[in-house]
């Protein structure tokens, strides 16, 4: 039988494709126009002395980058798991949340006996370790209990399981810790103040620069780990093709556990950053950041670690600066409400403009189109 399409079918198919393609082109053009008009409008406002001052814009941008760095840290976990196992681990947001909530216990204990204020650096390191260990443990347990038995299943199944795990962990924490929002002790004053290096004071608070710095360091550390160490190579091999990696003598199970553990550790770091910046945590703290972090991972290119971090920062900028810059410029009232809508719209637009994400995907042989 010939594999050529029957002429009528080919004709309708071509027509349909044109219709879809032209719709997407329309969306692209409309988006570019709207965004440009918005930005121009904002500049006009700025020139006329309305709207946020230059200082305010600068602060907003810095703050958005720091929030975005946190999304990036969480996104690393999503990206790695997707690269290796090929599904979205919805429960990763809860891995992040568990780190912050358990870290809160240690932070409160330290605060209550004065240690937090007298030795801030050691305190923060202790809380960081607690958060990282908790997140790593939670991630490993989840993998062992919920994902390992489903190793060979169609991809939809582990994804749905992860949704179940997400609910379960959320409400376990709700039951254990109660539903009220809890506060971390305040950031040590030296940290909260603006960053001062060698006498020059930068217009960014110590806390925020710590967040960005830690994210960068983690990113570099992780990149080094993945590209230069043996375990890292094993992870990349398993991501590339599980079966063949197994045949080559790599312990696939152990590598996958390592992937989850590293992702969990990154989420734990993000947890501490969150605690220092925002201080308020409850059992739902992981839900929205989890979704946004996955959005960031897709934005940057799934499976791609620098992409995840870049996607995080870009998403932070889009959702922090976007509403004010673009929608404010278009004259829409009450723009801050639309923050999340902007974040998701940005995702859609990026995927329409560049379907493989900003830095391109990096997937295993099974998932590659």
């Amino acid at each position: 039988m010939s594999t050529e399409l029957a002429p009528e079918v080919a004709k309708t198919r071509r027509f349909k494709f044109n219709w879809v393609d032209s719709f997407l082109w329309f969306v692209r053009v409309a988006a570019i126009i709207a965004i440009t008009v918005g930005i121009v409008g904002s500049f006009q406002n700025f020139a006329a002395g309305e709207g946020p001052s230059a200082v305010a814009w600068r602060d907003l941008i810095i703050s958005s980058i720091s929030t975005g760095s946190m999304y990036g840290l969480i996104a690393l976990g999503y990206s790695m798991v997707y690269g290796v196992l090929g599904f979205i681990n919805f429960a990763h947001g809860e891995v992040f949340m568990s780190g912050t909530m358990v870290g809160l216990i240690s932070a409160t204990l330290l605060f209550n006996n004065g240690f937090w204020e007298s030795n801030p650096i050691i305190s923060i390191i202790v809380v960081l370790l607690v958060a990282m260990i908790t997140s790593t443990l939670v991630a490993i347990v989840i993998e062992r209990v919920a994902y390992r038995p489903l190793r060979g299943a169609p991809r939809l199944i582990p994804l749905i399981t992860s949704i179940g795990v997400s609910f379960f962990v959320q409400y376990t924490f709700a039951g254990l810790f109660g539903v009220a929002i809890r506060q971390y002790p305040p950031s040590p004053p030296r940290l909260a103040a603006d960053l001062t290096i060698f006498g020059t004071t930068f217009p960014i608070s110590g806390t925020r620069s710590l967040v960005i710095g830690v994210a960068l360091v983690s990113m570099i550390g992780l990149w080094y780990f993945v590209t230069k160490t043996k375990t890292g190579s094993a992870m990349r091999a398993v991501a590339e093709d599980k079966e063949i990696a197994g045949l080559m003598g790599i312990d696939v199970d152990k590598t996958i556990v390592t992937t989850f553990a590293v992702g969990g550790a990154m989420a734990g770091v993000a947890g501490l950053m969150w605690a220092l910046l925002f201080r308020g945590v409850d059992f739902l703290t992981g839900f929205l950041p989890g979704i946004k972090a996955f959005t960031a991972a897709v934005l940057g290119g799934i499976g791609n670690l620098p992409g995840a971090m870049l996607g995080g920062v870009v998403l932070g900028l889009f959702e922090g600066v976007g509403p004010l810059l673009v929608l404010g410029g278009l004259g829409i009232p009450g723009v801050s409400q639309l923050k999340d809508a902007v974040a998701f719209a940005a995702l859609v637009l990026v995927l329409i403009f560049r379907p493989t994400g900003l830095l391109g995907e990096r997937l295993g042989s099974e998932d590659r189109v």
Binding site: E50, G51, P52, S53, V55, A56, W57, D59, L60, S63, S64, T67, V179, A180, I181, Q183, S205, W274, F278, R279, G280, D282, L284, T285, F287, L288, E319, G320, V321, P323, L324, G328, P333, G334, V335, S336, Q337, K339, D340
Partner: protein, 422 residues
Amino acid sequence: MKNKRSLRFLAVLGVFSLVAAACGDGGVEFEAGELGAVTVEAGEDIQIRSLNAISGEVAFLGIPNERAVRMAVDDYGQIHGHDVSVGTGLDDLCSAEGGQQAAQTIVSDDEVVGVIGTSCSGAAEGAMPLISEDGLVMISASNTAPNLTSDLEGTAGSSYFEGYYRTAHNDLFQGQAAANFVYNNLNLTQVALIHDGDPYTNGLTTAFENAFEELGGTIVLHTAVAREQTDMVPVLTEVAAEGPELIFMPIFPAEATFLVQQAGDVEGLENVEWMGADGISVENFMNLPESENMYFSGPDTQFASNTNESTDLSGDQFLADYESEFGEAPSADFWGHAYDATTMLLEAIEEVGVVDGDVLHIDRLALREALTAITGYSGLIGEISCDEFGDCGSSVISIFQHNNLADHQASKANILYTYPES
């Protein structure tokens, strides 16, 4: 012998009822009005219900109210020899469909006379059509949305249903009070408003906006945050850009905490005054150092000296009783409204109840009329009088400034303004 006597008695009764039925409304003492009546048989309880938000994140609002209802029932005692039963506390899920579902449970039981609830105004929207249609009454201790009663100028609210009453204030009232305070007392004219997408908070900011602009002030920005939003720097930047003198944010503790904590990170908000409402005049917000010197508007909570005329209980005694029974202080400030709502209902039941031997008849229409006619009733919240649309609240709004992080009650007594001005 006994059998014959009871047989004869039954026969007489039988004839009596036949005659009564045949004659229409002659002969029997009690006649039900057009909404029907509840007949409480001998040995049975009078049934009322509590419908509040008792689960989830807003449980801190609903639980004290339900407890107050039960305490009021216990304190009031029997009515015409019958006990009063509250049954299982119902949950309004703080949503219209939750309110409707709970209302369905209530009206399915023919014996329920009245309901104390709901917590959330949205739930009342869902519940009232059912409650009203079946002739029951509902008295809310927490709903403040204007459209549930009236615009305070004689026009019924868009969601007003007969049988609805409330001891909580109407938001138009609080909006006016807050606007007066800011404009006249603080002499500030540039205000930014933040709500959180909830009909209550949005209703309050809108009421403030209208009242404030009428006084001559300017609302420089009316924006919102999303529930569970944590990063507030963008919205604070938006607010700071408009240069307000005061920010009025009648929202809830979670988002309010993030706002005041992150305000320090945003340039331009250093000298801004902050004002909240009853949603955040709660312990976990007032503990924050950043909340010091903030203004809070809300229903007057200085009930210590007020006494409920039905049970002779003072506000102080209520708090002591609550603490000893539940081991904690009430988590929200509408307990007085709930207590008074319950005693009002019980008083009205007692007033319209027609005793017929061991049986008690409660006419539904008479009950509504009795409630609407309430004037000068002394409750924990002050003097209560109901208007034709169900607004019964003593309607005293007070605005205090938080000046004592350690002793919140002392702060709440630091009242700077009361509305209506005397």
